[in-house]
Symmetry: C2
Subunit: 386 residues, 2 copies
């Protein structure tokens, strides 16, 4: 298997981008990544996206973006794995390069969620749950996560306020990210007083509906060296994917993210690393409870003790295991099919030393984890300085 | 790059399968392929599908099918490239095995199109065209193909009746395929008198709206040998993908399928073969005009002379270049995201000598070509006896 190096990154700001259509967002991120990598052509474009058909009336999205960017003739495909679509597109790109079928691949993620009515967007997001056995009963992702959070508080005797450090950290970090949607700090008090959406989840537990696009350029190790890109390049040390039952009620233990456990274990094995080797972790904080469950399933905390990592300060920029260093899903924003690519882009920024005000002192190995549905599809990537 | 061998195939009948839901169709094809390959577990499942979100209210489809089949923990992703989604899923599976990231992969295609109102299904299919510049002007795929056919007849002085051999051949071959939707022969006279849908396209030029699913098991060469599956296995000799502009009006020459030319040229180069080496060609006869344009772009006929291959009898089971040997999109049926996988499954049947009444005397090398949109995304695969 050939080495795969990330030589270019691109992203649009995240927000309610009403002046940009789906294809324009994709274009902007792809062109930025190509310029960053210094390339004018590629062999393939994989686009992570969940809802282009439902919300923008457009399937065949990858070919459209390739066409719109002017990448005539190249391979193109859209990859869909609900909110994990972005990381799945990156993984497809890694496989194309690793297999030798391509030398230069662009993996992008794009989502347009704010041109539709909020109830239509919410209904679209519910397509990631089991249509016949969850959605038909009225379940939304908010409801499913609320039940998980309630159960967690009950099982482990944890209070609502114990979750505060996660959104507080995300918002603190978003202040230093010019592409983040919510660039303002919040206090623990503000978190506790935020309006409830589905008890115990409040507004500050919840990532926003938004638009955005991000992209990376993936090249073979030989190609990166030949083009003198080894120095700025970031190496893909591991890529892994795993699934669980689609419906939460089918799981033996709803508080255990089996797919996070499986994919992180596979990734650690590939990279020859353990949780202690990870300098930063871009995790999938779609809701606060997901951050806690992911930290436990990946081996960063004992079961029932994930919240303690928050209380200890370990998750902040100066801590032992910084998470959501550029704002995370909560404050950078969660344009669903793009999120997994934003995570990778932000780790590259940290590993290159280009994270600006949020630059970590020690950033040599970063881990990204992208979750689809309520933990049904989970991809874990580990990146390291080349 | 490692050798990739197809060791199992599965398919459901194609038709209006109102007693089977999307997940049941996917289940049936995947389980049949696993039984054929003699496996009980796999590393990944890639599912080609275009319209599950729009027509069945279900995204996150690959994980759902993995869950429903009982393939707990494996990787899963849905691949979307409009009507070329099936071949794109097979290509993703080939890359996973070729790269060494997986040893055993299932690539499936599934589509459920008949549980919705015909106008909703037609609107869904139009999502493969350019939403802002084609669909907004009222274009459907039928309309776009009608314009291509009209232009072809005008440019080359070809008559409507010259297209008859293509649907006549497809229907003749479907008689011998128990999974085909339309298992009845049609005459050239019946073709000429068929009701017009969008002049000059009539009902007999058009593939049907239908349901179906197909799957293949892909394993590494070493694994196939170790399991004694080398003998029945079929080798992937080439896989290639290419794109063109999404909108037909953006092409310099609308009668030239550039992406068919590019992907077939790349496939021939990979396999070290030329058009003369191909024993059968499963082409994408969504409309009769597409068969003719594909034969020309892939080098089987001169420009403007594709119809002559039909008139000569070369395309029949006993001819020099048999096409649509199990009925093609026209008569086996065209469940869009599944079609590309059906094509591969049918070539494996021919190469194994398991094509029943339709078995070719010489079937050592087969080519499949799957088209998304009006030629915007085209994948070409070449398979050979292992």
């Amino acid at each position: 298997m050939r080495d795969v190096i990330i030589t270019g990154i691109g992203q649009t700001p995240v927000g309610e981008l009403w002046d940009k259509s789906l294809r324009h967002l994709g274009h902007d991120a792809v062109v930025a990544a190509m310029q960053d990598a210094g390339i004018e052509q590629a062999d393939a474009l994989y686009v992570g996206n969940m809802l282009s058909g439902e919300l923008s009336g457009q399937e065949h999205l990858a070919t459209l973006i390739a066409d719109f960017v002017g990448l005539r003739g190249i391979e193109a495909a859209k990859i869909e794995a609900a909110c994990a679509s972005g990381a799945a597109a990156v993984r497809a790109g890694i496989m194309a390069v690793a297999s030798g079928m391509a030398d230069v691949v662009i993996a992008a993620g794009v989502e347009k969620m704010t041109d539709t009515l909020p109830e239509d967007t919410t209904a679209g997001l519910a397509l990631a749950a089991d249509q016949e056995y969850e959605v038909a009963e009225g379940a939304t992702f908010l409801a499913l996560n609320a039940m998980l959070m309630q159960r967690y508080m009950h099982e482990y005797g944890v209070a609502k306020r114990d979750f505060a450090p996660f959104p507080v950290n995300a918002h603190a970090n978003a202040q230093g990210n010019p592409n983040a949607m919510f660039r303002m700090a919040i206090s623990a008090e503000k978190y506790e007083r935020a309006p409830l959406v589905a008890p115990p989840i409040n507004v500050m537990d919840s990532s926003p509906i938004c638009d955005g696009a991000a992209a990376v350029v993936l090249v073979s190790g030989e190609r990166a060296s030949a083009f003198g890109q080894g120095k700025r390049g970031v190496r893909v040390a591991a890529t892994a994917a795993a699934t669980d039952t689609l419906a939460v009620h089918d799981r033996r233990d709803p508080l255990w993210l089996e797919a996070a456990y499986l994919s992180s274990r596979r990734a650690f094995a590939q990279a020859g690393l353990s949780p202690d080797d990870i300098d930063l972790f871009e995790l999938h904080d779609a809701f606060s409870i997901m951050s806690v469950l992911a930290l436990e399933a990946c081996g960063f905390a004992e079961r029932g003790r994930g919240v303690e990592l928050g209380a200890s300060g370990a998750i902040t920029l100066g801590g032992r295991l910084p998470i959501t260093t550029m704002g995370g899903l909560k404050a950078r924003g969660h344009p669903v099919g793009a999120t997994g690519v934003y995570q990778i882009v932000e780790i590259v920024q940290q590993l290159r030393g280009e994270a600006g005000a949020n630059q970590l002192a020690h950033a040599h190995v970063g881990m990204a984890q992208n979750i689809g549905g309520s933990g049904a599809t989970i991809l874990t990537h580990i990146l390291a300085g080349a």
